[in-house]
């Protein structure tokens, strides 16, 4: 066994649909290693292969953090265990009726997904509780036992217990769960009052059902991963990233598996938050641009935006705080097309990895953004340090025949037009997540990563009047690092419907104390020492009569509501541009975030050298920039050759193994102490 002192390596693994990214950080030497291996059928094989590829000695690892799309993929592919639902008599179809709406309003041939539990597997029990928690119809014990007997005969592996108004009184659900446990001791049981004790039956049931169907699978996965890591010599904590941007222990995952539903997506957002905070930007927009899609996230005042309205498939909400990530179909492989009315479009169709962009020379004939970047000289002739070559000839051919000729443009004009449309689409998406929420992009930094982010970052920033672009040291695998940058986090809540004027602060205080006791107990079972526990309170409020509420942080202990109400008015005005001081405010829900601080991971830092000099470029080549009549002779640098403290002015191309950064003319580049490239877009049109 190594002593604590020896174990200074931390490992983050992010399993995505195509690649498994591994980030290994030696906190002593500050060395950051990255490995990218293909994801595997059993994702754990990919995880261990990646760890092996990165040359990690698990016996020297202090912390292993993991983000995974296992839960997301299980929900999408419906590879789910045999599950059943038990609900109040008369309400068997709540999860099938949903809210009735369909994702595509006009296309009658596009169907919503089926519920996670089929109608044949949904059972009813006589009971009813009203909205105040009073028993209107007693719990039918005999009926419940009969259902338990049938479920045992059926051999189900997971059960969701979802009763009407159980948020107001969980007794019947708890009794049902007891009976089920008695008869089916090995089956995973989720109750709606245990998973999400909140108003609105479909949302609560849907979340509970998702939890039930994921539970055997996700717990199994986490346990198996833990065992295999242990076999290979790891004896530290295994922490799993959840949708809300915190980590959970395997024990917590057993109870709330559904919280991993967006685990993989959250990692990139957290990485962006961390980079922004290192650089001293309280506000940042994260742009994680890959081959087929781009994930956009937003950090305001150091906090990531979260949403309670998240789903994997339309109609089946998972109502836990999830980091708000907007995914759009724009990536390096997105296709440029001309539609029936002659308009130039970009994405969401993509060339995928097969055949891939025309420049890959694998038979692709349709032009992609990558092809446009090749034609414009922004990408060189190889990718991934020479593992993949890019051939400009088929790229040009694709753009010429599919775009340039139909539109009567030169090839370079057509390529430039394709990228302008792609950038404009991404800019619109950024506007949706920023302007629409009342945030001015000009007050934000743009953190770009993913394979293609650094190529588009400067142009996008210009389009959005964002002054600064940050390219982290390892853009291609940066999102994996997000898994290392978070604390253990549990989100608890309780309904508290009351006019603010009628609410008794002492009663609110008592309710918060109960939530705090629950949150503290959870962290204690996870061995979080008391000094590492942080409890954050908030109240969801709204103007009386409104349907959506806003979260307002409140102090502990709570003695009066005045300051919090003023903050609500203020936030409402910021987000929706008006406030109504005369209108009564309603409290809706009390919320507690219980945080267990994990050990802080330090990224390597390099002293900025005032005398840092621009190295010789690897080569020079002709690059077309937006608005230019002619290509410019542009130096190409290797990223590792650029020292901290260096400043220079574009144009330039900065190449590295996993990405290429494009620096347009006039843009000031600065290499900071964290080896980020910062681009200052001075000319804002």
């Amino acid at each position: 066994m190594n002593s604590e002192r020896d174990r200074r390596t931390v490992v983050a693994v992010d399993v995505g649909g195509t690649f498994t990214d591994v980030c290994v950080l030696d906190q002593d030497s500050g060395e950051l290693q990255v490995a990218k291996v293909p994801s595997t059928a059993n994702p754990i094989d990919g995880v261990l292969a990646g760890v092996g590829h990165a040359g990690v000695d698990l016996e020297r690892v202090a912390l292993f953090c993991h983000g995974t799309t296992v839960a997301t993929n299980a929900l999408i592919t419906r590879r789910l265990p045999k599950a059943a639902m038990v609900t109040t008599k008369g309400f068997r179809d709540v999860i099938e009726i949903r809210r009735g709406t369909r994702d595509d309003l006009w296309d009658a041939y596009k169907d919503n997904a089926e519920p996670y539990v089929r109608r044949r597997d949904r059972f009813e029990v006589g009971e009813r509780i009203d909205c105040e928690g009073n028993v209107v119809e007693p719990f039918d014990e005999a009926g419940a036992r009969d259902v338990a007997r049938i479920l045992a005969r059926r051999g189900v592996e997971a059960i969701a217990v979802c009763f009407i108004n159980a948020y107001a009184n969980p007794e019947h659900e708890e009794r049902m769960a007891e009976i089920l446990r008695e008869v089916l001791p090995d089956v995973a049981i989720s109750t709606s009052s245990g998973v999400l004790p909140e108003l609105f039956e479909h949302e609560r049931f849907s979340t509970t059902v998702a939890n039930a169907v994921l539970s055997p699978l996700v717990s199994g996965y986490v346990n198996q991963l833990g065992e295999r890591l242990e076999e290979d010599g790891y004896d530290g904590d295994l922490l799993i990233l959840h949708s809300g941007g915190g980590v959970m222990t395997p024990e917590a995952v057993q109870k709330l598996s559904v919280r991993l539903a967006a685990s993989g997506i959250a990692a990139g957002a957290v990485a962006c938050q961390h980079t922004a905070s290192l650089c001293g930007y309280p506000n940042a927009i994260g742009l994680d641009m890959g081959g087929t899609s781009t994930d956009i996230s937003l950090v305001h005042d150091g906090q990531l935006r979260t949403t309670n309205e998240w789903f994997v498939e339309y109609g089946y909400p998972i109502c836990f705080p999830s980091i708000e990530v907007l995914t759009i179909g724009a990536g390096g492989g997105s296709l440029g097309t001309i539609d029936a009315a002659g308009s130039l479009r970009n994405g969401p169709q993509s060339a995928g990895s097969i055949p891939g962009p025309a420049a890959y020379g694998q038979g692709g004939v349709e032009p992609t953004n990558t092809d446009a970047n090749v034609v414009l000289g922004r990408l060189g002739s190889e990718l991934a340090g020479g593992e993949m070559t890019l051939d400009p000839v088929p790229a040009e051919e694709a753009i010429r025949t599919r775009i340039a000729e139909p539109l009567g443009l030169e090839v370079h004009e057509a390529a430039s037009a394709m990228l302008q449309v792609a950038n404009a689409n991404m800019a619109d998406a950024v506007r949706l997540i920023s302007l629409q929420r009342g945030y001015d992009p000009r007050e934000f930094a743009l953190v770009v990563f993913g394979g293609a982010g650094a190529l588009h970052g400067a142009a996008l920033a210009k389009e959005l009047s964002i002054p600064t672009v940050v390219v982290p040291p390892r853009p291609g695998a940066w999102s994996a690092l997000g898994c290392l940058m978070v604390d253990i986090r549990h989100d608890l809540s309780t309904m508290f419907l009351s006019a603010a004027g009628d609410a008794d602060p002492a009663e609110i205080e008592r309710a918060f104390l109960e939530l705090e006791a629950e949150g503290r107990a959870m962290l204690e079972t996870e061995n979080v020492p008391p000094e590492k526990i942080r409890l954050e309170r908030s109240i969801a409020m709204r103007y009386l009569g409104q349907w959506r509420s806003m979260d307002v942080p409140v102090p502990a202990p709570l003695t009066d509501l005045d300051a919090s109400l003023e903050q609500f008015h203020r936030e409402h005005e910021r987000e929706f541009s008006y406030r109504r001081d005369d209108a009564p405010v309603e409290l809706y829900r009390l919320q507690l975030t219980a945080i267990g601080e994990t050990q802080r991971v330090a990224l390597p830092r390099e002293e900025e050298r005032p005398d840092a000099a621009l190295p010789d470029p690897l080569l020079e080549r002709d690059v077309w920039f937006d608005g230019d009549e002619q290509p410019r002779r542009t130096p190409v640098f290797h990223r590792d050759s650029l020292p901290a403290g260096l400043q220079f002015v574009g144009p330039a191309v900065i190449d590295q193994l996993d990405s290429t950064t494009l620096v347009p003319p006039g843009v000031l580049v600065e290499i900071d102490e964290w080896r980020n490239i910062r681009m200052h877009i001075t000319e804002v049109s």
Binding site: A108, A341, S343
Partner: protein, 666 residues
């Protein structure tokens, strides 16, 4: 339907300016973002639960009021009406529209939908010139009138329905006219919420204005206004290219409302003719029956919208703006018909009445034109209102339980219809959570479930409908009203497919106080302890049900979408139970073959049986409602069991045309 040509983008515009393809695409997408931003803002700040359930729409209109872009999640019935409201403002305030003004309008006789849908419209100026109008249109929970929720089924003219708002100015050069807003709000039952929603809509139009300003700053006002026109031209070109690929011809059909309460029993016809000539479609509604004496008539704007929405359902990927309306034209016919009622005929229930009939008739025609996208009739929008005093609280506040359901959609080419989906009038309209309703109103919901056998039988079954009902707990001075239809003109199948089941509300069913209230009624007094329930229909079936794969019927039985009894009666499939606890059933193939052969011979005669005799057998309990509407084509007053002879005759002829004529021969 691949595009035949790839025309060059020529960026035509009124003033001769041209747009490069990039600027065009960028601006087009910005307009999409802009209207969606408005929608998001409304959703987050509205007070009306009807708006929150997504009964609203947003649009950016040009300086002439033409729609440039509409919200991607907008409710269908507002489609094709927003430009008319914008034009009404321009007309009434010509020469007197100033920067900082905001207007409101709900007038259904000026292209609006019904009184409840109030549009807030903000003119947008660039360099002192009117360049655009931002519009936020939302369904307010109450607009006054004789009943809570402003849905008085018995209203025969507008005065009983609610406040009519011709174009009025609610913000004057930046100053909110509280007096004007107050005048409207205080003629409703919920002034506080109305004022709240008015603010939410005013601010949403401001979001649009800011965004237009940003675009004008960046691209110049000439480029932006050129793009306003180019985006409409783009949609027109796209639409024309698609229509040109369709065969020329004339198609006609009719769909029906249940009755005109002012006349003898008998169905009321909405007649739709569709002509395709080259790259244009023209609809003609002029043969429709006269306006009826209930509020299910529609105004001209809604009739226009119904025809447009039916076309859009079959061309779902084309964005909607005024360019679409240039290629798809609608003649709503003379005033005074059920589709173009004219002032002061009552029109508030239009969406349940004439509107959905126009859409459904359109579906039937388009299904012949594009069989690969065929869609049988979908359930009819319904909403039930209970209003009165909430005796759970000492101050007895006013309450409104205002409820609508999802229902089944029609069978489709190669697949069944969708179960439990929002109505065609607005697929984005969300049903309300009963747990929320129970907090707000003294109504305890007892059931909200899918109805077995409600999907119209067919080779491809209609989707299933839903049942919802409950008990009135602590109510005082309360009344119940229902806005629906298709209690008699039952949701129908096509191509040999069969109907679903009739709509209608039951009070205290199965007790000695049982009452059938019908599919359209108003102001029925109800009291503490009353129980009620009603179904939403399933969709109509598509194709001969005797051709449905028995394996599919078996799956339906296992899931309880179809009962054992009706598997045999509707599909001729004999399913045997092995172990219901384990969901084990099997098809008796031999028996199925025998039953199907018998039914092929017998069923043609069922439609000719003496209706009185059928009605008697119904009253004796030998036959049930589904037997009557599917096998015998007999329509009764479902409460009394009394035969409706004229309606039955009409219904049978429809059933023969849409179903029996297309069954496979014995």
């Amino acid at each position: 339907m691949a595009p035949v040509t790839t025309p060059r983008h020529d960026g035509p515009s009124a003033d001769g300016a041209t747009l490069d393809p990039v600027t065009f695409e960028v601006l087009k997408n910005s307009f999409v973002t802009l209207v969606d931003e408005m929608a998001e803002q409304i959703l987050r700040t509205c007070h009306s639960f009807v708006i929150y359930a997504r009964d609203f729409s947003c649009a950016l209109c040009d300086a002439e009021g033409n729609t440039i872009m509409q919200g991607s999640q907008d409710i269908a019935v507002h489609v094709g009406t927003l430009h008319l409201k914008a034009k009404a403002v321009l007309e009434d305030f010509a020469g007197d529209i100033n920067e900082g003004d905001v207007f409101a309008v709900n007038d259904p006789y000026r292209g609006g939908t019904h009184f409840s849908d109030v549009s807030v419209i903000r003119p947008i100026f660039a360099d002192g010139e009117l360049v655009a109008m931002a519009q936020a249109n939302g369904h307010w929970a109450d607009m006054g009138g004789s009943v809570p929720g402003s849905f008085d089924v018995s209203a025969t003219d507008h005065f009983g329905e609610g406040v009519r708002i011709p174009p009025i100015r609610i913000v004057d050069r930046g100053v909110v006219r509280h007096d004007v807003i107050g005048l409207v709000a205080h003629n409703t039952r919920a002034p506080g919420d109305i004022i709240g929603d008015c603010h939410a809509q005013i601010e949403a139009t401001r979001v649009a204005e800011q965004e237009v300003f940003r675009l004008v700053d960046k691209y110049g006002s000439r480029t932006v206004t050129t793009a306003f026109g180019a985006v409409q031209d783009y949609v027109e070109r796209l639409t024309r290219a698609r229509i040109a690929a369709l065969p020329d011809g004339v198609w006609e059909t009719e769909d029906h409302l249940d009755l005109d309460p002012g006349k003898e029993e008998g169905l009321v016809a909405v007649r739709l003719k569709m002509t395709i000539e080259g790259d244009e479609i023209s609809y003609d509604l002029s043969g429709s029956d006269p306006a009826i004496s209930s509020f299910l008539n529609s105004g001209s704007g809604v009739a226009f919208s119904g025809a447009i929405a039916s076309a859009k359902t079959f061309l779902p990927d084309i964005p909607l703006n005024s360019g679409f309306y240039r290629a798809v034209k609608v003649d709503v016919g003379p005033e005074g018909t059920v589709v173009n009622a004219g002032w002061p005929n009552a029109v508030t229930g239009c969406v349940s009445g004439a509107y959905e009939k126009i859409m459904s008739a359109g579906f039937e025609l388009w299904s012949q034109l594009m069989p690969e996208r065929a869609l049988a009739c979908c359930f009819n929008l319904e909403y039930l209102l209970v209003g009165g005093r909430d005796a759970r609280r000492d101050d007895r506040p006013f309450f409104m339980w205002y409820d609508w359901m999802a229902g089944g959609w029609g069978g489709r080419h190669g697949k069944d219809g969708q179960n439990a989906t929002s109505p065609v009038f607005g697929v984005g309209l969300a049903v309300q959570p009963l747990e929320g309703q129970e907090r707000l109103t003294p109504v305890l919901t007892s059931v909200h479930e899918i109805i077995p056998d409600s999907g119209g039988p067919g080779r491809h079954r209609g989707g299933c409908g839903v049942r919802k009902g409950g008990t009135l707990t602590d109510v005082e001075h309360s009344v119940m009203s229902y806005c629906c239809d298709r209690g008699r003109a039952v949701t129908w199948g096509i191509g040999g497919g069969m109907p679903s089941l009739p709509h209608g509300v039951w009070l205290n069913r199965g007790t000695d106080r049982e009452r059938y209230l019908g599919a359209n009624f108003s102001g029925v007094a109800v009291e503490r302890g009353d129980r009620f329930e009603r179904p939403s229909a399933g969709g109509g079936g598509l194709g001969d049900p005797l051709l449905r794969d028995p394996a599919e019927v078996l799956e339906d039985v296992i899931d309880g979408y179809v009962t054992l009894r009706r598997a045999e009666r509707d599909y001729g499939v004999v399913v045997r139970e092995i172990d219901a606890e384990l969901s084990q059933y099997e098809v008796d193939a031999q028996a199925t073959e025998r039953v199907r052969a018998e039914q092929r011979i017998e069923r043609v005669d069922w439609l000719d049986e003496d209706p009185e005799e059928v009605a008697t057998r119904f009253r004796n309990g030998e036959l049930d409602v589904m037997d009557l509407v599917r096998r015998h084509g007999v329509i009764l007053d479902w409460g009394s069991g009394e035969l409706l002879p004229r309606t039955t005759e009409q219904y049978r002829s429809l059933l023969r045309r849409r179903s029996a004529a297309q069954w496979t021969a014995p």
